[in-house]
Amino acid sequence: MRSRSLALLYFLPLFSVYADVPDWISGRASLDDYESISGRGTLQSGFTLFGTARPKFSEKLDSKLMLRGSAYRKSLDKPDDFSIRGEVKEAWVEYPIFGIRVRAGQIITPWGRSDAVNPTDYLTAKDYTTLSIHDDIRRIGAPGILSTFTPNEGTSPLEFSFAWNARYAQSKMLIPASQIPTGISVETDPRTPLLFTDNEEFALKVSYLASGWDASLSAFDGRNHFGQFVWDGSRVGLQFYRTRAIGGDFSVTFDDFVLRGESAYFFYETGSSGLGGLSLTEPNHWDSVLGIERGIGARFRIIAQALFRFHPDLKDSQAYVGSSVAETAIVRGLGRANAIIQNYQNRSRLGATLLGSYESEDEKWRAEFSMIGNFVGGDYVLRPKLEHKIMDSVRLTAGLDYYGGPEDQPLGALSAYRSVYLEGAMTF
């Protein structure tokens, strides 16, 4: 770790002295430092302030403002420069109209019951270029309206949700440089799409809560939030193709464990086989997660999930033949890169996630081990971490992100991002 970053961690407890905030404000101030173990030096080092305000103007009028501001000495975006990033994560108001709760503004709507992998999370995107142990800092919402209706004056076990995004959110991906065809530059940070027009999204969900179980069915008409590399004859750009999806999820409680499942089928405008009929971009596919969670005694907890992706009409992008040798090489290279980054190299992809956690009785120490692995391809990421509560609202976390396996597989290709990290965070 760089000594300057480490030294800053000592100032967090001082900051906490000034953090006596009203109930409707909460947040987190954190300092982090990610050091490469692949010889790339510091990957990210900076300070982030993440805050949420929930002013309630009246019994009916609710609102939320969630902001994030970061100052980086180094980041994946700007490896050599000091940079500042600020964003409005959420900014909405909610009011009931004829029994329907209508929320309008910048909204994060995370759907899905599974852990870490959510096929039915149609409406949000994530920023994977921000290294963080906190899920909320990565989520990207969209401007729009979310309306929810629960019959019988809000007491029915049924709930209907309808979401409209005025434009789609774009995920920012970790793109392994080794997978980009040599000699060409690619667009990795596309412009924010215009409001309305062809960039709108719609989603509908019907949920049911019963004793011991709950389930939902959902449908989506919008865009793939993961951009895919496309060659337009002169340059390589990222395309977020129009997508339709149907899916569902459920959770059931048993005596010793909770069973959760989530599944969705995605249809792309590029056809069932993907761009060009040769899967130059991701083809239609079925994406599913099935997992169990259980506590072992009072202090251990385990979540294990099986992941399954099936691309029924996958075609080999390497069969592409262009108008020239150079174009053929570029397009094949991009097809290969898309398949790796979007995880569709095979018709069937089987994987698993595992999360085990332990918390000491005095709640001062927490150890966690998580992993994601692909059985087809043999690539994986291991994420052990150890948290120590050094005072009531200040935690220190040390951990490792280790990407392993063949470099021509989705997780193995990220080996350049292997790192150890230290984060000090104060919540308020």
Partner: protein, 267 residues
């Protein structure tokens, strides 16, 4: 053993019936005790203060809502935490079911998601305290088999007479949910409110004692304990649950006790 743990709110309807000449059996006493503590609805602020054997203290604050379900017997409860900062906005929905196990749903504001908790975890620690989730439910007389042991001086209140009752879960579901194999309960003879409960784990070892104090008689004739204290006999820990700002007249909508509303009002 949910029983004594009627922690949160003990009230008594029969309080004003000092001439208890009729011989009551254990179950009848417990039915009266349940009735004495049955508020149709209330909300209150609460502080959960835990002290470990080492002397280390920690405290959690929350708002609590409880309301009788339409069946008039089972409760639905919502707990929303306000402090410390690391749990601010977390919420727990507890839905008692007449048949089968209860439902516990936990709202995690950082993920904006709700998670179910497995049934056996109901006997585990509630937010790191010496209470379990099931300790915070209203015990139902029909869930246990009782034997009236004797009448004796109330523990901690030498001027009062208590019924001393032995109880054990009537079903395996109740046993699994509470994690208790048996209990001893002291019920005040004059008010039928609980004074103390001693719980035994599944091996039969003495696990916890729960003491109820700061008893208050409400306008409807029910009783409410503002202070409930748990001592863990195995690890020496102690937790005090202190209620304040009790409101029983304010109408609480049923829609508050739904998964959909769980995240509402959280951060």
């Amino acid at each position: 053993m949910k029983f004594l743990l009627s922690i949160l709110f003990s009230i008594s309807v029969f309080a004003a019936d000092p001439k208890q000449d009729v011989k009551l059996n254990g179950k009848e006493i417990m039915q009266k005790s349940e009735e004495a503590t049955r508020l149709s609805q209330f909300t209150a602020k609460a502080v959960l203060k835990s002290t470990k054997k080492t002397g280390e203290e920690k405290s959690k604050s929350f708002q609590f809502w409880r309301k009788l379900k339409a069946d008039g017997a089972r409760y639905q409860s919502l707990t929303r935490f306000s402090a410390p900062a690391e749990v601010k906005g977390e919420a727990i929905l507890f839905l008692e079911n007449e048949t089968g196990a209860n439902d516990i749903l936990l709202y995690l504001p950082a993920y904006q998601k709700t998670r179910r908790i497995e049934r056996t975890q109901q006997s585990s620690s509630f937010m790191g305290s010496d209470f379990s989730y099931s300790d915070l439910t209203i015990p139902h007389a029909n869930d246990y088999k009782y034997i009236l042991n004797k009448e004796e001086v109330c523990p901690g209140a030498p001027s009062k007479i208590c019924f001393r009752i032995e109880g054990e879960p009537a079903t395996d579901i109740v046993r699994d949910q509470t994690g208790y194999s048996k209990m001893t309960i002291w019920v005040k003879k004059e008010s039928f409110t609980s004074v103390r409960v001693e719980n035994y784990d599944l091996t039969g070892a003495f696990l916890k004692s729960i003491n109820f104090s700061e008893e208050e008689k409400l306008s409807g004739g029910k009783w409410f304990h503002k202070k409930i204290e748990v001592e863990n006999k195995k690890d020496g820990g102690k937790t005090i649950l202190q209620f304040s700002e009790l409101k029983t007249e304010e109408k609480i909508p049923d829609s508050l006790f739904t998964q959909q509303a769980l995240g509402k009002g959280s951060r």
